[in-house]
Structures are given as structure tokens and as C-alpha cells.
């Protein structure tokens, strides 16, 4: 489903990604973790071309990120959820969800709205359709953002630290929605520090450090017996509090 082959990227002389390779199968959930600045966001943004890579290639569902004509199509099929939600503040919840389907997929208003309402039900926000983002809590906003991505009927969902801007009591409601999505068979790449979620939901963990993919392993193996010294150091730091 997703093929990342020998991807490298530089910011000036600083190499953010060092020959990263990994493939993700259809329906698989992969959690990416690693210290701050290790290149997690850059890697995940490479998958939908928000951060183009300098070397190597990324292919999603047969579409090559490096090919301009493919990229547009690819982006309609790859949803992305951001740390800061990035809801459109001038539009209400319903219009936030309907915008891309109407503009990009040329869906009719009624059709888009019907789908939006179904999705709002799925993320537990049926009663909030006409509210504006500023009237919602962080957890609710992030659930709207997930519904907004799903409205494009994506085959892959990317999450970049979807809960790290949230107050602790709201993290669970977002993770629950993501778990449901995983159970329904969505292919997902999730950058997160929520190790409980990783353990329960992920099929594999990608551990990154200093631009390299250091380990790719099933959660049990990764958490109980990390192979590299770097992963051990990272885990002891993150699990100690």
C-alpha cells in the first residue's frame, strides 16, 4: 500500500532523513515514534508530498509522490490530521467537512452534507454540525478534523501527533475514534507519543532517531526488548513518567 524506498532529504547541509525505507501493507496501523527532531513529521509529510523528498521514492496505492499528476490524485486518497487540527475557523463544522469534497471531488452540496452528517455521527459529534471551531473543545475539534479527512474517502490516513496539543482528559476521545478507524481496517501511519495506544492498536512500531529508521518491529517486541541502544534510551525516558 505504501512503499517508502531509500528516502533522503536535506535542509541546506542538514540531513533530516537518511535513506529511510519501509513499507506498509493495506489495513496496517504503524506508529512512528522517536525523539524530538528525529524526522518523524518530515517522513510522514513525505507520504502526501507536503515535504518533498530529495532522493528515493514514495509510492502510495500505485501513485508516485514524485510525479506531479499522481500527487493530486494521491492527496485526495490520503487523509492527514495535524497536531493543531487546522480546522477552517471561518466555516462551521459541516462546511469544514464539505469543503474539500465539493471543491476537489465536485460533489453536490446535498451529497457532501449527507456524508458529513454520517461521519459526524461516527466521531460522536452529531449535535455540533452548525457550530464553529472556536466553540468546540480541542478534543472535539480534532474529531471534526478526522471526520473532515474521512469525507474524502481516503485509503490511507496520516496522523502527526494528533493528541499532543490536547488536555489530558480529551486525549482518550480522540484515540478512541482512531482505534475504531483502525478496527474498521483503515491503513494508518500515526506519529505519537501515546505508547498505550501504540501497544494496543499498532501492528508495527517504527522507531526513528536522527533521521534514520532504527527499528521496525511489532509493539510487544519493541516495548519489551528493543534491539538498539537508542530505542532503549528513548523508551526509558518516555516510560519513566
Amino acid at each position: 500500500m505504501i512503499e517508502i524506498r531509500d528516502v533522503s532529504k536535506w535542509y541546506g547541509s542538514f540531513q533530516v532523513l537518511k535513506s529511510c525505507s519501509v513499507s506498509v501493507a493495506r489495513g496496517e496501523v504503524v506508529v512512528v515514534c522517536g525523539p524530538s527532531g528525529s524526522g518523524k513529521s518530515t517522513l510522514i509529510k513525505g507520504v502526501n508530498g507536503l515535504e518533498p523528498c530529495d532522493e528515493g521514492e514514495i509510492v502510495v496505492d500505485g501513485l508516485n509522490v514524485g510525479v506531479k499528476a499522481d500527487l493530486r490524485v494521491l492527496r485526495t486518497r490520503v487523509g492527514m490530521v495535524f497536531q493543531n487540527f487546522e480546522l477552517y475557523p471561518h466555516l462551521n463544522v459541516l462546511d469544514n467537512i464539505c469543503l474539500a469534497p465539493m471543491v476537489v471531488l465536485k460533489r453536490k452540496r446535498e451529497e457532501a452534507e449527507a456524508r458529513a452528517r454520517t461521519l459526524l455521527g461516527r466521531v460522536g459529534l452529531t449535535d455540533h454540525a452548525l457550530k464553529f471551531p472556536a466553540q468546540l473543545s480541542g478534543g472535539q475539534q480534532q474529531r471534526v478534523a478526522i471526520a473532515r479527512s474521512l469525507a474524502m474517502d481516503p485509503v490511507v490516513m496520516l496522523f502527526d501527533e494528533p493528541t499532543s496539543a490536547l488536555d489530558p482528559e480529551m486525549i482518550k476521545e480522540v484515540l478512541d475514534v482512531m482505534s475504531d478507524l483502525a478496527r474498521d481496517g483503515m491503513t494508518m501511519i500515526v506519529v505519537t507519543h501515546e505508547m498505550g495506544f501504540a501497544r494496543r492498536v499498532a501492528d508495527r512500531i517504527i522507531f526513528m532517531d536522527a533521521g534514520e529508521i532504527v527499528e521496525v518491529r511489532p509493539p510487544e517486541a519493541f516495548f519489551t526488548a528493543p534491539e538498539s541502544e537508542r530505542a532503549r534510551a528513548f523508551l526509558s525516558k518516555i516510560l519513566e513518567h
Binding site: R75, F82, N84, E86, H90, L99, A100, V103, A134
Partner: protein, 218 residues
């Protein structure tokens, strides 16, 4: 000074009204044209194609460094030389105002766009929109809302600046007032009236915008 003679204004109202109409018409065209071309210029200015951005930057810097009255002169005297025939004072004033104001509106719009967080474009682009679609549906509506007060200020200045067209023989509101004032030798009445009229128009304009603003507020 004696008492104020209100009749002098009533008597000359049709003449003053003609001048006011010209000011309105010129301001309306220049505001619409300035915002339209200012928007295009702002998009060019933010283009990732360097030469395009530089040309737009050059345009803006040029027009912001010369006085409007000079531009009015230039267009009035130079364009006929280039075209080989006269264009008439009104058309040349319209062109001069639009070209000049485009530079100012461009900068206002660019600032508004850049005050919108970059992540908003990313969100649009990530869902398959082109950069222009993201601009049109996501960034511009937010930017214009923030810009409304500054756009209004600029437009009021523009309206007041229409008095400069007397240099190309046009008779705007202010010029009409001066003419009547000197003919009738009633300076106080007419200049008080002119002040009151400018104030009323600009005040009404800003109230109208605030009203619209309130209507949009969530």
C-alpha cells in the same frame, strides 16, 4: 464675518452634486479596480517563481514612492503621447488612481494573507486542493475578514484623494466647492459644508462596513 448664509449652499446644490457624483464614481471604480488588481498583484508578489515576484515587488515599491498627483499628471500627459490620441481627463484619472491604489491594496492583501497560519494552506493542499483553491476557499475569506478595517481606511483616503483630479481639469466635489466659494465669496459656509459632507460620507461608509462585519461575525 456676519451670519451664515445657508441659501448659498441650497442654491448651488445641483452644481455641487455634479462634483460629488464625479468623486463617487471615480472612487468607486478605483476601489473596485484597486482591490481586484491588488489581489492579483498580491498573488504574483507571493509567487514561488522569483522573476514574477520581483516584478510585482518592483511595481509596488515604485508606486509607493511617487506621489499620486504625479501619477495623475503622468497618465494624463504621457498616455496620449504613447497612444497617439488623447484619452480624456476622466479615463486617465481612473487609470492613474487604479494603478496607484493597486500598489497599496496589494500590500494590505498580502499582509492579510500572510497573517493566516501556514498550516491552513497545508490542510487544504493535503486534501487535494491546488494552491489557488486553498487560497480562494480557505485563506482569502479569513484574510479579508481581518483586513476589512484597513481596506476601509485605505478606501476613505482614496475617496478624499479624488480632490487631486483638479490638476487635469476635472471637477470633483472639492473643486466644485472651491469654485462656488470664490464665486459667491462665501468661504466659511462652503468649507464648513464640505467638511460636514466628507465627514458624513466617510462615517456612513464605516458604519456600513461595520454593519456588514457584524453580519459576518459568528
Amino acid at each position: 464675518m456676519g451670519h451664515l448664509d445657508v441659501n448659498v449652499i441650497l442654491r448651488n446644490l445641483p452644481y455641487l452634486w455634479e462634483g460629488l457624483q464625479l468623486s463617487f464614481l471615480l472612487a468607486a471604480i478605483a476601489i473596485a479596480g484597486g482591490i481586484f488588481f491588488g489581489l492579483i498583484m498580491a498573488l504574483l508578489r507571493m509567487s514561488s517563481i522569483r522573476p514574477v515576484a520581483w516584478i510585482a515587488l518592483g511595481y509596488v515599491n515604485f508606486f509607493r514612492s511617487v506621489p499620486l498627483i504625479l501619477v495623475i499628471f503622468w497618465i494624463y500627459f504621457l498616455v496620449p503621447l504613447l497612444l497617439g490620441h488623447a484619452t480624456g481627463p476622466f479615463l486617465s484619472a481612473v487609470v492613474a488612481f487604479t494603478m496607484f491604489e493597486t500598489a497599496y491594496y496589494c500590500e494590505i492583501i498580502r499582509a492579510g494573507v500572510q497573517s493566516t497560519p501556514k498550516g491552513q494552506i497545508s490542510a487544504g493542499v493535503a486534501s487535494g486542493m491546488t494552491w489557488l483553491q486553498a487560497m480562494r476557499h480557505i485563506v482569502m475569506p479569513q484574510a479579508f475578514r481581518k483586513m476589512r478595517p484597513i481596506l476601509l481606511t485605505q478606501s476613505i483616503i482614496l475617496f478624499q484623494d479624488t480632490s487631486l483630479v483638479y490638476v487635469v481639469t476635472l471637477r470633483d466635489f472639492m473643486t466644485s466647492v472651491s469654485t462656488v466659494a470664490s464665486q459667491e465669496l462665501r468661504m466659511v459656509e462652503l468649507y464648513l459644508f464640505a467638511g460636514a459632507a466628507y465627514f458624513a460620507i466617510c462615517f456612513a461608509g464605516s458604519r456600513l462596513i461595520n454593519r456588514l462585519d457584524g453580519g459576518f461575525r459568528r
